[in-house]
């Protein structure tokens, strides 16, 4: 098994599914690149190179570059999905949702329900999220809570190359609209990833660390921070379970509740803005369904309620970090009623 980056893992998932199923198409701004230009074709492969190489293999009929018209082409992906294709459309940065959200949350998400069940909309929307790239307020947001809020959407937030590949293949084969969040800072992270196709089911959390003292739930890029903290604290005799939900909708609350039943202590780490985010979503569900087991206050580790700042020094303070997670875990571990 070869080491592959998060970027490669996603690319490979796309290529495998395009080979397997002729109805799978890919579209987005510069997803091949060089359209109509005098120089090289496949010049970009997407802004950070994720779709590079697909166009040469599958042709421009199945790897479509688009004008900068997100409503039109994301909507076209939705309409194509409702009529027989399985499009994977790229919303370059999730921050751009504001110019095309209608086609996602009012159209794709609601067709099946509004039409009394008589619709299938297997569209995947790939999108980049997250801070740490010095990309400032309009290119750094972590907006999966908004998509998770919407009934009818599925939301995937892979935290590793292995998961990214398996979840992407599942997303493409899935018959519901899926929003697939890729953390822009993680593209170069590598790990062993099988060459062949495999799927990871939605709604099944991954237990990346096991411990009986504290449950840490972390999402996306925050999983690696949580793992680090768990490893550090294990040396001090504080044993953490780390749960990576992998999909925020559906959400595997069973695994989280089971763990909290054992540990009685919960820390949730979320890179999203703190209000109405996944940290509140999970914490509230635990406070409702596992209250009797709770031995300490729930602690949420999130950024502050501010836009993402540009200056590197500020951005580094903005993103939740292992030290903050460690403080929170120590606080709940040491809490006595």
């Amino acid at each position: 098994m070869a080491k592959k980056s998060y970027r490669q893992a996603i690319n490979e998932a796309l290529a495998l599914e395009m080979r397997r199923d002729p109805t799978v198409i890919v579209m987005g701004e510069d997803n091949a690149g060089g359209m109509g230009a005098p120089g090289a074709d496949d010049a970009w492969g997407g802004v950070l190179g994720v779709t590079m190489g697909l166009m040469p293999e599958f042709g421009r009929e199945r790897v479509l570059d688009t004008p900068i018209s997100e409503s039109a082409f994301i909507g076209a992906a939705v309409g194509a999905a409702a009529t027989g294709l399985r499009p994977v459309a790229e919303l370059m940065f999730v921050d751009f949702m504001g110019v095309c959200f209608d086609q996602i949350f009012n159209q794709a998400a609601k067709f099946k329900y509004m039409f009394g069940g008589n619709a299938v909309t297997p569209v995947v929307i790939r999108t980049m999220y997250g801070a740490g790239f010095r990309a400032a307020s309009q290119h750094s947001q972590t907006l999966y809570p908004m998509f998770t809020h919407i009934p009818g959407l599925k939301v995937v937030v892979p935290s590793s190359p292995y998961d990214a590949k398996g979840l992407m293949i599942q997303a493409i084969r899935d018959d519901d609209p899926v929003i697939f969040f890729e953390h822009k800072v993680m593209y170069d992270i590598e790990e062993e990833v099988p060459d062949e196709a495999y799927t990871i089911p939605f709604g099944e959390a991954n237990l990346t660390r096991e411990g009986e003292d504290v449950t840490i739930v972390a999402i996306g890029r925050m999983v690696q921070f949580a793992n680090e903290v768990a490893d550090t604290l294990a040396k001090d005799g504080i044993n953490c379970s780390v749960i990576d939900p992998r999909t925020t909708s559906p959400l595997d609350m069973d695994t989280i509740l089971e763990s909290v039943e054992e540990t009685g202590r919960l820390v949730v780490v979320d890179e999203a803005s703190p209000r109405c985010n996944m940290a509140t979503d999970i914490s509230a569900a635990v406070a409702q369904h596992a209250f009797a087991a709770l031995k300490a206050p729930i602690r949420m580790v999130t950024p502050p309620h501010t836009p993402v700042p540009f200056a590197p020094q500020l951005e580094d303070l903005y993103v939740p970090n292992p030290a903050q997670i460690e403080t929170a875990v120590r606080a709940v571990a040491g809490y006595a009623r």
């Binding site: 109805t23 198409i25 009929e61 199945r62 479509l64 688009t66 004008p67 018209s69 409503s71 039109a72 082409f73 994301i74 909507g75 076209a76 992906a77 939705v78 309409g79 194509a80 999905a81 409702a82 009529t83 027989g84 294709l85 499009p87 209608d102 086609q103 009012n106 159209q107 609601k110 067709f111 099946k112 329900y113 509004m114 039409f115 009394g116 069940g117 008589n118 619709a119 299938v120 009934p151 009818g152 599925k154 899935d174 018959d175 519901d176 709604g203 559906p250």
Partner: protein, 322 residues
């Protein structure tokens, strides 16, 4: 040409009359308080849906607006199931979950009325992309109001359809108003110039003349089927009822609707033309009228008798699997 085929003439009239009867009846029933929600009626605009959709088959798709009943009927949806849907009953086209604003039947290529002005054109580009990619030979039609012609999603779709060379026809149904706002005021420039400015042909058509619409649509659809890309029809027509049921229409001129009904009605114009030209006889048309009136009576009776959805239905149909 529509004139050249008796079957087509009968079909055109039957469909227009069905839409008219359906809408007049929904208007009456709504006033009686038996129909819930926001209901936007298509009466007065029949020739557009019918003139365009007569060229379409099941492999072709249409995307509609909030004013969707006429497009639905013209695209061949089950009229009785439509009535049930508008009443919010079991057996409705969408099981009562969508209602008038979301009435749809993908199996007939009807991609839905849409509660979002400008919601349809991007979706229609998608249906056209499917047709192009899978080489089905299909085309896709986006019906858009004059108000909807100012929505960014619509304008972007013009460009996308052009740039991707999609088999799309945009039909701007300009009934002169968006809610209470005159299109004369809200639409800068002109619809056909807009089409041309994005690189596609734009044609203005008299929306009370089903023959003219049929002809213009034929050209646009043939063009699309031949792989020659999108085009736009600017159809001038009128709505007979308020923006939605309940609208007092104080913004319209005194006698405006009466005059339209008297002098510019698409069904009357059709009738006059085909009978004067000896293509059909008045008796035939009267018979159709009678049959359809009875049919719509039945549709209403069945809708009123149908049970509402139940608690179980609330939670189904959100996902294929979850």
């Amino acid at each position: 040409m529509l004139q050249s085929n008796r079957q087509d003439l009968l079909k055109a009239y039957t469909q227009m009359r069905t839409i008219r009867e359906f809408e007049e009846r929904v208007h009456t029933e709504f006033a009686g308080g038996t129909i819930p929600g926001f209901v936007h009626l298509y009466a007065g605009e029949e020739a557009s849906a019918v003139g365009v959709c007569m060229h379409l088959g099941d492999k072709d798709h249409i995307g509609s607006t909030h004013r969707g009943h006429g497009h639905c009927i013209a695209k061949g949806c089950d009229v009785k199931a439509m009535m049930k849907e508008i009443y919010g009953r079991k057996g409705g086209l969408c099981g009562g979950k969508g209602g008038s604003m979301h009435i749809a039947d993908l199996s007939k290529g009807m991609m839905g009325a849409n509660g979002i002005v400008g919601g349809g054109p991007p979706l229609v580009c998608g249906a056209a992309l499917t047709a192009k990619t899978l080489k089905t030979g299909g085309v896709a039609v986006a019906f858009v109001g004059d108000g909807g012609s100012n929505q960014g999603t619509t304008l972007e779709s013009y460009n996308l359809a052009k740039v991707w060379n999609l088999p799309v026809i945009f039909v701007i149904e300009d009934n002169g108003y968006a809610e209470s706002t005159a299109s004369e005021w809200s639409v800068g420039g002109s619809q056909t110039k807009r089409a041309e400015a994005f690189g596609m042909p734009g044609t203005k058509v008299d929306g009370n003349d089903v023959f003219a619409i049929h002809e213009a649509a034929q050209e646009a659809i043939e063009r699309a089927r031949a792989g020659r890309g999108p085009s736009l029809l600017h159809v001038k027509l009128s709505r007979y009822f308020g923006h939605f049921e309940g609208d007092a229409m104080t913004y319209r001129a005194d006698g405006e609707v009466e005059a339209l009904r008297r002098d510019h009605d698409a069904l009357k114009i059709f009738r006059k033309r085909v009978t004067e030209a000896g293509l059909l006889e008045a008796g035939q048309l009267n018979e159709i009228d009678t049959d359809i009136a009875a049919f719509i009576d039945e549709a209403v009776a069945e809708a009123e008798a149908a049970p509402p959805p139940t608690g179980d239905d609330l939670l189904t149909d959100v996902y294929v699997s979850y």
